[in-house]
Amino acid sequence: MSAILPPSERLWWKQPIDKVEWAWIAIAFVWGMIMFAMMIYWHIYGKQNLSNEAYKTTPELFAAKAEKFIAENTIRTETERNIPVVKVPAGGDGYLIARLWDWYPILELEKGQTYKIHLSSLDYNHGFSLQPVNINIQVIPGYEHVVKMTPTKEGTYAIVCNEYCGIGHHSMLGRIYVK
């Protein structure tokens, strides 16, 4: 009868399925498989895949590694807060601290070079949102995420925090230079 009554045909599971319905189910199934294949294809041939490399860490450990990196590679400081600008060695490792409410330090990269950027948070969850490129990565305390990045264009880029992290969330803005 209708969808609010028990099926009028007691043996409803023996009713044949209409051709059109079968066709739509087949389309939906095949499309699902294509979307599945697409992600794998991109892992093999695509150039934008999120890194699998991550380690458990602690805020103290990560901060110590980052401070060492900053001490060795700082080229100048900027703004009245004297935020260090750190040139990441080409092909080398760079560290970026997320904390209330800074991205620290400022990184300087070169176009076309590949860098291993280590991301972690010292307190809450933060969101690495590179603008205007629009790459967004979750940054979680206790986890060190090593993301290989290759900038494709010169310019000054902003890192917006896009995971809510408290009252100063909106002022958490970082910077990356690409020369």
Binding site: M1, I17, W24, H43, Q48, L130, T152, E163
Partner: protein, 564 residues
């Protein structure tokens, strides 16, 4: 326990006394939470509208937390309890199992909801709906949600019990009606969703009172999304059931195939929980293989289920209309549909908006690599305002136009405004979702107070188009709030001032659903087949939009920095 059964003279639906009271109280509680959620929505919108920026930062985050909790948990869960009691006791024409436990569940939800809101409005719990650790809320924030969850679990248990009562008392023959079957899937999903929620919120509560020292931030995210996303799947199963219900009530539509529709509901149960993984696609703690497996095999089977419902619901309507003689061309069945009836118009806008906007954007957002373009941007709330609002909320609003006369025995007041409301709310909310997604595509963050980054050591100027999108978000958001407010006014106004309707015959015994006669089933089985070419065209249109939009996003992705 003695109880009575009332047969509604308009609809023929039979309401058991206890179930009827519970449905009313749950529905009214839901509407009150929607009112709170709506007021907070307006404040959120007026703050994110760059030209107005109403609230200071601390109040904005407080209000945004309340908006998420009151809408996503309280409004929807209370209404869903009413849907569960309706789909069991009313559709199966039996008494409600253990009404006392159902009342206990109701009051637990009320107390829990108030407790969490008190915690939020005291100002120490602005942690957002997701409450990611290690950001800590007050202890009663978590305890309130736990009480709501326990209450909902009790309601779900009463639903299961009622199915048993109906079976034992033989109030129906054969299989469950499709709508009840859909509600059953919603209840099963609710059960494991709530257990996942207990698995994370109970330890978090202990952590907030100092009994547990630390909760791993990544682990929290993983288990929490077993609650956070799966609860949206309860909504999907519930609102798809409401679509079938509407099609049945308005058109007498029967499913194209019971087998296909039920199979699609079954897929929801099997695959949706795992699809929660798509919230973790940009997280460090999981491997790419884990992400791809969970979001593809598992999510795409659930997507397939939604695509099937997206076909069979309008297909059932088309078939019913064609049987009535609306057979001209591809779309006479749709043109001649009762567009002036808000039950139908609301349901159909819900179907289209959920499919074209919410569904497509959800799958694209849930693609492992593409997620990096959108994760935590304004795209995300854009997406879920076209699933949980134009999908679930609008479907619930539409069915309420039916429930007010049959359940509350009141005529709707101001019928002209009732006709307009689904269009006003549905269309403005759909556009709102679209412009939010537009802003997100340009990178604008969600849950962010200030696009100008005041107090930051640097400047970043968003593209002009992003400001345009946020301005449109403000305008359409305000219209949507007006549309939602109008619905609350109409419903509450009708409950208070609507013309009282005859309740119908009351009996102390239920009248069972008459068994389908041999003749009727012969008709159903015989040369009854009707083609649904119009639905095929609509479905193909959806498919083409889907494919195009999916690949456009791969194109966007190929243009960003190289990542590996």
């Amino acid at each position: 326990m003695a109880t009575t059964y009332r047969t509604c003279p308009v609809s023929g639906l039979q309401f058991e006394d206890q179930a009827e009271k519970l449905m009313r109280w749950n529905a009214v509680a839901g509407v009150l939470w929607l009112l709170v959620g709506g007021i907070t929505a307006l404040l959120v919108i007026l703050t994110r509208w760059p030209a107005i920026k109403l609230l200071p930062a601390d109040q904005f985050y407080l209000i945004l937390t309340a908006h998420g909790i009151d809408m996503l948990i309280l409004w929807i869960l209370f209404f869903e309890m009413a849907v569960l009691y309706f789909a069991s006791s009313t559709l199966l024409r039996c008494r409600l199992a253990t009404p006392k436990i159902a009342w206990l569940g109701f009051w637990l939800m009320v107390v829990g909801g108030i407790m969490t809101n008190v915690a939020i409005f005291q100002g120490e719990s602005s942690v957002m709906f997701t409450s990611y650790v290690p950001m800590q809320a007050a202890w009663h924030f978590y305890l309130g949600i736990i009480l709501v969850a326990v209450g909902a679990l009790l309601g779900t248990a009463v639903f299961f019990g009622t199915l048993v009562v109906a079976k034992r008392d033989k109030t129906y023959q054969g299989s469950l009606p499709l709508v009840t079957f859909g509600a059953l899937t919603a209840a099963i999903i609710a059960t494991f969703t709530i257990l996942a929620g207990a698995g994370i919120l109970v330890p978090t509560f202990f952590w907030s009172i100092g009994l547990i020292k630390e909760i791993d931030a990544q682990l929290y995210r993983m288990v929490w999304w077993g609650l956070g996303h799966s609860s949206q799947q309860i909504n999907v199963a519930a609102h798809v059931s409401v679509w079938y219900l509407t099609a049945a009530v308005i058109f007498g539509a029967k499913p194209l195939s019971e087998k296909v529709s039920r199979f699609a509901f079954l897929l929801y149960i099997l695959f949706l929980q795992l699809a929660s993984a798509h919230h973790l696609l940009s997280d460090p703690g999981m491997s790419a293989e884990w992400k791809v497996l969970n979001t593809s095999y598992f999510m795409y089977f659930a997507v397939m289920a939604s695509m099937i419902h997206g076909f069979t619901v309008p297909g059932a309507i088309e078939a019913a209309q064609r049987r009535k003689g609306y057979t001209n061309g591809l779309f006479e069945w749709l043109r001649k549909a009762p567009w002036g009836n808000p039950v139908f118009s609301g349901m159909f806008i819900s179907l289209v908006s959920f499919g074209f906007l919410g569904g497509i954007s959800g799958v694209v957002l849930g693609t492992e690599q593409i997620n990096m373009l959108m994760h935590n941007t304004f795209y995300v709330p854009g997406h879920f305002h076209t699933t949980v609002v134009t999908g679930t909320t609008l479907a619930f609003m539409a069915i309420t136009y039916l429930l007010v006369p049959v359940l509350f025995r009141r005529e709707m007041i101001l019928p002209k405004l009732c006709q307009i409301q689904p269009y006003l709310f549905g269309i403005s909310m759909s556009v709102l979702g679209l412009v939010m997604m537009g802003a997100g595509t340009l990178g604008v963050s969600r849950r962010h107070w200030d696009m100008a980054f005041s107090g930051a050591p640097f400047q970043y100027e968003w593209p002009g188009a992003a400001y345009l999108m946020m301005g449109l978000t403000g305008i359409f958001g305000v219209i949507a709030v007006i549309g939602g407010g109008l619905w609350i006014l109409l419903v509450v106004g009708s409950l208070l001032f609507g013309k009282k309707l005859d309740g119908g015959k009351v009996s102390d015994k239920p009248t069972p659903i008459p068994a389908a006669t041999q003749a009727a089933s012969a008709v159903a089985h015989g040369s009854d087949h009707v083609g649904v070419p119009g639905t095929v065209v609509l479905a193909l249109l959806l498919f083409v939009s889907f494919v195009l939009y999916y690949f456009v996003n791969w194109k966007y992705l190929s243009e960003v920095w190289l990542l590996s």
